[in-house]
């Protein structure tokens, strides 16, 4: 079973104060720490689990600059066999353009499954995977939390709302967007990443793909990003933990809990 996994390197932004850059279209990124997008980490793990069961090749693909090869090295260390980085040059991408570039790269490759994360933690579009499937004309399903491949189809579980899941059978080749929690991504050591540096990492440029200037126009443009509008928000309780605890207990009792 040959599997392609599309991944992205994204900044960790929990407990970080984000600053908007001068052009107001992006954040200042110099001091941020990057990691593989959380959803993509589950997608590459799922691909490697399938490879361990059925054999075949796993290829990891990203669109990004040289720094972004870090996530490909990580995928290779986990168990991907080869990796491709597509250098976008100076292009500003939206989900549509990203999906188009991925489609042109993947067209002609051999695969039974393409896995992506449901969404990325930075821009949260949740569209690149399904758009890619449509460009390639293959079956697709979103928010997948269970996957059992059986011959030329797969039994999949999709997460709906309220704890309800939908179970379906999908024809292969197919693209599935993978939800967090589907597996337990393995730990990768620095040594493991170093060892994987011998595996193939191919770099191609967007100019090398069969895309015209017209093809490379995004569908959407960020006009401006800004801090959320000030809302009333929470009444902040300040002070030492003891003082804070007393105040929380007072509120809880006031609201009728019997402590």
């Amino acid at each position: 079973m040959n599997i392609i996994v599309c991944v992205k390197r994204t900044p960790l932004t929990q407990e970080v104060e984000l600053e908007i850059d001068g052009a107001r279209k992006d954040i200042k990124k110099d001091s941020l720490v990057y990691f593989i997008n959380e959803w993509d980490n589950y997608a590459i793990e799922e691909a490697v689990l399938l490879k361990e069961k059925f054999g075949g090749m796993v290829t990891a693909i990203t669109i990004g600059r040289e720094d972004d090869e870090e996530v490909l090295r990580r995928c290779l260390a986990i168990g991907a066999d080869s990796a491709v980085r597509i250098d976008p040059g100076t292009l500003v991408l939206d989900a549509y353009l990203g999906s188009k570039i991925l489609a042109e790269t993947i067209r002609g490759m051999s695969y039974d499954l393409i896995l992506t994360g449901v969404q990325t933690s930075d821009l949260n579009n949740g569209m690149t995977g399904i758009m890619l499937a449509e460009h390639l004309g293959i079956a697709h399903s979103a928010v997948v939390t269970g996957l059992e491949a059986e011959g030329n189809s797969a039994r999949i579980k999709m997460e709906l709302e309220g704890g309800i899941d939908e179970v379906a059978r999908i024809a292969l080749p197919a693209l599935l967007t993978i939800q967090t929690g589907i597996n337990e991504p393995r730990y990768v050591s620095i040594m493991g990443i170093r060892k994987a540096s011998k595996k193939e990492l191919r770099v191609i440029r967007v100019e090398d793909l069969n895309l015209s200037k017209e093809d490379l126009i995004p569908w959407t443009f960020v006009e401006e990003i800004y801090q959320p509008p000030e809302t009333e928000g929470a009444v902040m309780i300040e002070g030492e933990p003891e003082k804070v605890a007393l105040e929380i207990i007072r509120i809880i009792k006031e609201k009728g809990a019997d402590l």
Partner: protein
């Protein structure tokens, strides 16, 4: 005068709230832009809620067929693109739900219509359509403009607009036949399962002590559990805790877990992703403890503490014991 499409989402005989939320926004846009409002309803035979939707729209286009009983992105895409090609709506709204996330991006690519996803509002500025989104887990907002096009697709984040079932549009019903060349689906529905059920029903709890990613590791769950026991509260959690198998799924609060309505909700180390916050709209008093003063949870909580949860939990335990 143009038209705005709202693609109705329904499951097991009930219209999903997202449908009414989209209709609320579509209604406002239609009044401002003098557009007409059309609901597109696809499903099995004799859908019970057709009349309910007529009050909220000028036209309810329905395609009812036994073959359409279960949602299938391919089939929906085929039917809706036929309608869009015929009627050329200015805007098509789809829910940013698991089903909408499967349908909308493929529909947009098939038709070549620019799309923005997971939007919390839609603006029209100098005649140009703009979408409002949240990025970086809700820490920042982004205003998005579109490449000029005769039509657009926008997916709406659940909970962005009110659910208002009353309306005064008294729309007409337009029943369409399923085209004979409808393609064979590549995905076959098998069943619905409930992975959210378990030994405790957190949706009935009066006092929840809820734990999030900030708890750090599995061993620390016990520290919070002790506090919950001392306070005679039920323990619940946010998604990352279930993803990491630190607590079973029936403890999960949020869109993909349970909606809860306790009198008191004590959120410990929960950042407040919108999927989580959507599950606590029915809660009475929300008290949040999080190291990150900018965490979105503080925008919805009644009381906040910007500190290390373990320090606060330890102090709480000591005071409650006394």
């Amino acid at each position: 005068m143009g038209e705005i499409f709202v693609i109705a989402e329904h499951r097991q005989g009930t219209v999903r709230d997202i449908t009414f939320q989209m209709l609320w926004k579509a209604d406002e846009l239609c009044r401002r832009l003098s557009h007409s409002l059309t609901v597109v309803l696809i499903g099995g035979k004799d859908l019970p809620f057709k009349n309910e939707l007529k009050e909220r729209a000028d036209t309810v286009i329905s395609i009812e067929d036994d073959r359409l009983e279960h949602f299938d992105a391919d089939t929906y895409k085929y039917l809706i693109s036929g309608l869009i090609n015929e009627r050329r709506p200015f805007l098509t709204l789809i829910g940013h739900t698991p089903w909408g996330m499967d349908l909308a991006p493929s529909l947009a690519v098939k038709l070549g219509l620019p799309i923005a996803s997971d939007c919390v509002d839609i603006l029209v500025e100098d005649g140009a359509l703009k979408a409002m989104r949240q990025i970086y887990s809700g820490k920042l907002f982004s205003k998005v403009a579109f490449k000029p096009s005769p039509g657009y697709v926008i997916t709406i984040r659940p909970g962005s607009f009110p659910v208002d079932k009353a309306g005064d549009r008294h729309g007409e019903a337009l029943a369409m036949q399923t085209p004979s060349d409808i393609p064979e689906p590549r995905k076959k529905f098998l069943e619905f399962t409930d992975s959210g059920a378990g030994e405790t029903d957190i949706s009935q709890a009066d006092f929840l002590v809820s734990v999030g990613r900030g708890v750090g590791e599995k061993e620390n769950i016990a520290i919070v559990k002790e506090l919950a026991d001392l306070m005679r509260a039920v323990i619940s959690c946010s998604r990352p805790v279930v993803d990491k198998n630190w607590l079973p799924k029936f403890h999960q609060v949020g869109t993909s877990g349970k909606s809860v309505k306790p009198r008191i909700y004590l959120a410990l180390g929960i950042s407040g992703a919108f999927q989580h916050v959507a599950g606590i709209t029915g809660a009475g008093t929300v008290i949040a403890v999080n190291k990150d003063r900018k965490a979105p949870i503080f925008r919805v909580a009644d009381y906040g503490v910007a500190d290390d949860l373990f320090k606060v939990v330890a102090a709480l335990k000591e005071k409650v014991k006394k």
